[in-house]
Every structure is written in C-alpha cells, then in structure tokens.
Symmetry: C2
Subunit: 256 residues, 2 copies
C-alpha cells in the first residue's frame, strides 16, 4: 500500500517524497593547520538531531568514513567525518599511514586538539543537538575517540571499533565524563593483552561507565571490507561488522 | 484508540483480550531422579514459538527464574525453568548451595545429563518450535548452559549471565554446534583471568561462534537483586542488568 502511494506521488505532484542524504565538505582549523571534514545528514529529518563525530583509521579520511556517515544519517543522526591529519594529507601507502598514525599516537596532546577541533565543528552545525553528541572511530580513530573522552569532552559517549586502547597517561581516565564502549576482535593480534588489562584498570580506577565486547573469530579491522593492507591479522568479518553496528545502535539508543 | 477498543470488549463479549501469562509445574525424570520444572508462556501467542530453557543459580530453582521466564513469555517465547538439583531439593543456605553446585560442577557428565533432560522437556511442549531453541543461565546456570553447548546440544544458542566459564575438558569445545554469548561483570572477582583465557582458547580452537561482553562496574550476580549472600564481590547492578537483558534480546533476534 505504502509503495503504491509513494509511486503515485510523481504523477500527482511531480516530486518525490524520497529522503535525500546530503553532504557538505567543511574546512576548519586547529591552530594554524587547515583541516577538511565532511558533514552528512538526511534532509527529511527536521530540526536538531543527535550528532555523531566519526574519526578515520590510519589511512586518513576516505570514502569509508563517508559511507558510515551515510549509514548514520539514514538512522536520523547528523554525522561529521573529522580530519585529524590535515587538508590534502592522504598517505599514499601503509608506510606513510604508519608514520602519520604514530606521530599522533605519540603526541596525544596534538591528537586531542585535532579531534576536539572536529567536535567543535560538529557542535557548530545547527543540525546537531549539542546536548546529544557521541563519537565513533575505527582503528586509529578508535584510539582517538577514547582520547577525546580522556580529554574531558562534554559528550554522551564514545564507541571504539577495533581501536588500540593503550594510554601513555592512564591517570587521565579521571577526566572521562562520557560512557565508553569498546568493540574488539576476539582474535585481534594487534590488541595486546597488557593494553587491555591497563585499559580496564584505567576505567575501573576512574569509575568510568565502560563496556568491552569481544567478537569471536574477528581479527583487526573487522568492519573494513578493504583494510588497506594484506595481513591475516586484519580482515573483514561480516558477522562481527553487523553485530558491532547493532551494538553501537543499542548504545546510542541508551545514551541519546 | 487501542485502549478504548480493549476496554469496550468486556461490555461487548463478556471477556478480556488482555494477554495472560500462564505457567505449569512439570515433573520429569533424568535417570531415576525426579526433577520439577516450570513452563511459562503467554496464551495470547498462538502456535509454536521460540523456546528458552532457563537454568537456575546455585540456590536451585526459585522465584527468580520464574520471574525471568515471565519476562521471556511477555516477549513471545515459551520458557522452561529447568531443575538440575531434583524435586524438593532447595539448599537452606549458601553452604548447602555451595556443596550442591560443586557436586555438579565436578561431575560434568551428570550436569550435562540433567540439563539435557530439561531441554528435552521443553522440546516436548507443543508450544515450542523445536527448530528455535536457546538456553540461558545465571551463575551456576551460566556454567551449565555452556556445558549444554559442550554436550553438542542441537539448539541455536546459549547465553551465560555471570557464569563460570571454566571447563575440565576443553577439547569438548569441538562438540559445540550453537552460538555462545557470555555476559560478564567487568569487575567480577569470581571470574578468574586464567578461566577467561582458557575459555577463549577453547572457543577459538573449536571455531565456535562466540562473544563475550564485559560490563564495567559490575561484579558477580549483577542481574540478581538478591544474590542470596552478602559479599561486595556479588551485587546487583541495574545498569548491567538492563544492558545484559538487551544484549540477550539482540542475540535472540539474530538466532531466531
């Protein structure tokens, strides 16, 4: 019945009621550095809605983050794909990606400044309900959103997909004001046992509201059909991808 | 509108359309031992529906399992509260409960026989769709449902709520045909690190479809408002209770 009505609309009014996902490239600054992110939303949704910051993996901002942003827009959120590396900085290969990711992972002050600049940009959008903001990130971005939480960001929650959970300053766990959900491959060889233990201790001692889910059979990069390099320890896993997305949605249902 | 129609029904037909949760105590056998379980369902649901076996904690079958069975019946499932200890066996205190739980935990052959007897009883019910059966359990019952999986039971999945995950025969992981979801307190002092590691290895080596969720801030017995003993390591946690129930429902949505 619904299908019939919708298909009849063009005959009646000459326009479609089909929702349209919109996107806009946005230049913004952190200090003297120019960054370039992408805002994505569904223009069928009216008024301010929960906002989700998306932080990219080690290859920088790619079509992958925009694809996730579209999925979030279809759920009714406004998503902003943040840029950590800077406008025009796109590692040519995994060697360059590794160098860049290491640069930010070893300078958490800079990493926090960059991700917070993205958060501020999302909050500036009139589409975003500033009181309902979360951040998600993949691999390097998963580490980054937890670092965003450690910076004391005033948001509702962060979700790390196969992100490194280590911290050079575990005492900063006490700054965390939001809920933390870490989604991890049960067989991820890049996730060190001592980092997991340290992360749990950090969360516990700071009395953070934290959760970790381990997906059996999943290794690193389990949400990424093309992780950008060939390694048996980093591989797409459809089952874990779907489950982790469902777990994220459930978490959003709780915090928003 | 719906409320108006429903409240008008008694005037029209002299009966209520209100759904009613029904329960029936059932005696059954394992070997020469008489067991006594409880079947719970919603009589507003017609025809065979997914069935959920519920296995009790160390205190034996109590009102707690029936309460969970009613929650499941309201979701449209038929639930059977299994009895592991035997008809009329109700430990008077935690000392007796500990003795009984240890008896079955150290005789996994008997434990498997007892829980499989319950499963057969659930499958006998015409209310249950035999192709869509799962089992859930609390503490001792959490251990038991994983043991049910290790026995090679032909069911869709098992969910352990704060259950011990250790196995005296880890090679039996290879018998597991169903999906396994373990829901654990992130701060449960009764969950030994070496048992967790061994469980993960068992699942991994047997290529089981497994997941573990850790709820930060939750200790043992986090789903039980009255765990039956006073210990800071075993305490109700409303947040983890609600989240674990939601995680179970999501898992059921996937397997049924």
């Amino acid at each position: 019945m619904k299908t019939l009505l919708l298909s009849a609309v063009p005959l009646l009014g000459g326009f479609s009621l089909q929702a349209a996902i919109q996107s806009k490239t946005i230049e913004y600054k952190q200090g003297d550095t120019t960054l370039e992110g992408v805002l994505v939303w569904d223009d069928a949704v009216k008024g301010p809605r929960p906002g989700v910051l998306i932080v990219h993996q080690w290859l920088g901002l790619t079509g992958y983050e925009k694809y996730r942003a579209e999925m979030l827009a279809k759920l009714g959120y406004v998503a902003f794909c943040a840029d950590i590396y800077g406008k025009g900085v796109h590692p040519a290969d995994t060697t360059e990606a590794g160098t860049l990711a290491t640069k930010y992972k070893t300078d958490r002050t800079l990493l926090r400044a960059r991700v917070n600049a993205g958060l501020e940009e999302l909050k500036k959008s009139e589409l975003a309900d500033k009181s309902r903001i979360a951040a998600i990130g993949y691999c390097f971005g998963g580490t980054t959103v937890i670092e965003l939480a450690r910076s004391g960001a005033d948001i509702k929650g962060v979700v790390s997909f196969h992100g490194g959970l280590d911290s050079p300053t575990p005492a900063d766990g006490k700054n965390i004001k939001c809920k933390v959900l870490a989604l991890a491959g049960g067989d991820d060889p890049f996730q060190k046992a001592e980092d997991l233990t340290a992360f749990e201790s950090e969360m516990r001692e700071a009395k953070v509201d934290w959760q970790i889910v381990f997906y059996g059979g999943a290794v690193h990069s389990f949400t990424q059909p093309d992780p950008g390099f060939s390694n048996p320890g980093a591989k797409y896993n459809e089952r874990a991808d779907k489950r982790s997305w469902a777990d994220m949605k459930q978490f959003f249902g709780e915090i928003f």
